[in-house]
């Protein structure tokens, strides 16, 4: 009661801020949906574990001094012939499956995020241009989008990969394979962004603030990126979250099919592909554990995407 009011003030203010934060519609709908909270927690754990892998992984699968062929094909620690050093067993080269999963999840996440960023950037630029310029440019971009939408992403990504393979032959190094993967996944999924952004741009471009910006003689690029873009970015974020799951699956699939990341830089898909070869000899752990990780990661990301779509959709409020 008679405590000095001075020290209490910042505390109260931060409490007020916290209350305001919790009062927000989106935060409210997030906290109300238990599934979403769990999905967010799972995603966070996997992302943290993946990016802290150099610190928390018990072994470094890329350090050849730590990898020994003598340790290869070991079952998980709880099996009869298991080794306590390798919690989830080892693969055909003696790499610890648990550590490789952590490093692999990091690669999968990086490829997925970069591919989504690339697709979103491309889609936004093309969508803004199509919507703002209109006319022949608009028809050209949107017809290209129509044609591409006819084909599933996996087919387009495979075609791009095959083309690069034919163009550069064996001259491809590992870094290039990585970027080819990012670009082919990105190129296969820009259409959704472009369509959405074009639609919103068509609405925005007749509003007064755009007219005013044009009147004072701003360059169209400035108008588009500084003034129109912030108003059309909302749906893009939703599409990006939903597409992240798809991009991760696509990367895993390409790696599984042997046209993605090489066994020396294993992503989750590469690991499953390696493990698939040993499934028939009963060594299930090499494929199944990365498989479960991949499934849980994608499911969690998809649940987050679903929730975000519903939370930002004013019709469903």
């Amino acid at each position: 009661m008679d405590a000095p009011s001075q020290p209490v003030k910042p505390d109260a203010r931060s409490q007020g801020r916290l209350a305001a934060f919790l009062d927000n519609d989106i935060v409210y709908s997030f906290l109300r949906s238990k599934v979403t909270v769990v999905a967010a927690a799972v995603t966070l754990v996997i992302v943290l574990a993946a990016f802290l892998s150099p610190f928390i992984a018990p072994h470094d699968p890329f350090d050849l001094r730590q990898v020994s062929l003598l340790d290869s094909h070991m079952p998980p620690a709880w099996a009869a012939e298991g080794d306590r050093r390798f919690l989830l067993g080892t693969d055909d080269q003696g790499r610890d499956v648990f550590s490789t999963i952590l490093y692999g999840a990091r690669i999968s996440l990086i490829v997925g995020v970069l591919a989504v960023a690339f697709a979103a950037a491309l889609g936004i630029v093309l969508g803004l241009t199509a919507g703002y310029v209109g006319g022949a440019v608009d028809s050209l971009i949107m017809r290209a989008a129509d044609v591409q939408l006819t084909f599933p992403a996996i087919l387009i990504a495979l075609l791009i990969d095959g083309t690069v393979r034919a163009l550069f032959g064996e001259g491809r190094n590992e870094e290039m394979v990585f970027w080819v993967l990012v670009v082919s996944i990105g190129l296969s999924s820009w259409v959704a962004y472009a369509r959405t952004v074009r639609g919103s741009t068509l609405v925005e471009k007749n509003k007064d603030y755009v007219l005013a910006a044009r009147l004072i003689g701003l360059h169209p690029a400035v108008i588009l990126f500084r003034h129109v873009l912030p108003n059309v970015i909302g749906p893009v974020l939703v599409i990006a979250t939903i597409n992240l799951g798809i991009a991760i699956i696509l990367e895993a699939t390409l790696s599984f099919l042997g046209v993605g990341l090489p066994p020396t830089q294993p992503s989750l898909g590469t690991m499953i592909s390696i493990g698939n070869k040993f499934l028939f000899s009963g060594e299930w752990w090499i494929a199944i554990f990365p498989g479960i990780t991949l499934a849980v990661l994608v499911l969690a990301v998809n649940l987050l995407g679903d929730w975000l779509r519903d939370a930002l959709n004013p019709k469903l409020r």
């Binding site: 044609v147 599933p152 996996i154 495979l158 095959g162 099919l257 009963g282 199944i288």
Partner: protein, 325 residues
């Protein structure tokens, strides 16, 4: 209506031409066709002569015209890796892929629609909740992972179903079928489930969503008020009205079934077109890639066209719109 049909046909033709242009660009500029055909010891003069004979010095539009003309006659050149005509390779594998795709499409429709109806009518039952949760898995799991899990469960652990190949096949003219032999039928079960699971989950969720929407409408309430039986209301009135979007999506999904077959065929070593295409990508076999691209594009465009036309034929509301607009 006629104008709409003609416009859609022209659009389809345009799409095919664009795809043909991409396939031609791949075929002509990615990897030198001459280098792939001759050995190292072939002299420069011989190469130049071959270039002339094959017409690679003609103007590009002429070459493109010839490419399209040849493609229309199913002549897609010679495969770099097998040194045999591409169309023979594809012809051999086409029935395997189509059988797999058809069986999984049927499977997903026959299970997806009833499950969707059930979950919509019994929204709160625990079985519906379970089915919905499972369908979320069906949508989230990568196809190849489903295949591996099924192989692990049914082929490796239980040993009841074969994990690879097509079993014995019977030749009916140019078509080979595995659906008439016991081993062929057993072999198709796992790949068909793998390929169909995603579509099944999708169709189930779609039917459920559409049913819920329709069940809220006034004419359903009116039908109930008239004292019709639940059966007549649910199936005669509600389900019938959900089928238009379902037919559309199912039709369009058939295209992606063929594309996803690439993955399923790899997991199960199913001797189809998808496996051929993947080998072509891995070995930079451009003629096979461009032929597959053209073929798949043709199938997709045809399906899109049929679905659009069916849509207009089924739904009178769309017919009116196109007439006025």
């Amino acid at each position: 209506m006629l104008a709409f049909v003609i416009r859609r046909l022209l659009q389809a033709l345009l799409v095919m031409l664009v795809v043909a242009l991409i396939a031609f660009t791949l075929f002509r500029f990615v990897g030198d066709p001459i280098n792939q055909m001759v050995g190292i010891e072939t002299s420069v003069e011989d190469r130049a002569r071959l270039r002339e004979v094959l017409g690679l010095n003609d103007p590009l539009p002429v070459q493109f015209g010839r490419f399209v003309w040849n493609a229309l006659h199913f002549d897609f050149g010679i495969s770099y890796q097998f040194k045999t005509p591409v169309i023979d390779l594809i012809g051999e594998r086409f029935p395997a892929t189509m059988e797999l795709a058809l069986v999984s499409a049927l499977l997903s429709l026959m299970l997806g629609i009833p499950l969707g109806v059930y979950t919509a009518l019994n929204r709160r039952s625990w079985l519906s909740q379970l089915l919905l949760a499972l369908s979320l898995f069906g949508i989230s799991l990568p196809v190849f992972l489903i295949g591996i899990l099924l192989i692990f469960a049914f082929a490796v652990s239980l040993g009841v179903l074969p994990a690879f190949g097509r079993g014995e096949v019977v030749r009916l003219g140019f078509w080979t079928t595995g659906l008439l032999t016991a081993s062929g039928l057993r072999a198709i079960i796992l790949p068909a489930i793998t390929l169909g699971l995603f579509q099944m989950a999708l169709i189930m969720r779609l039917v459920r969503a559409e049913m819920l929407e329709v069940l809220r409408t006034d004419y359903i309430k009116f039908a109930r008020a008239r004292g019709l039986t639940d059966r007549a209301v649910n199936f005669g009135h509600a389900l019938k009205n959900t089928l238009v979007p379902v037919v559309t999506i199912a039709g369009l999904q058939f295209g992606s079934i063929i594309a996803f077959a690439i993955i399923t065929e790899t997991v199960f070593q199913w001797p189809g077109m998808g496996l051929l295409f993947l080998k072509a990508v891995q070995n930079a076999d451009i003629p096979v890639m461009s032929a597959y691209l053209l073929l798949v594009a043709a199938i997709f465009v045809a399906i899109n066209l049929v679905v659009d036309l069916l849509y207009v034929a089924i739904d009178p509301r769309i017919r009116l719109e196109t007439r006025s607009g």
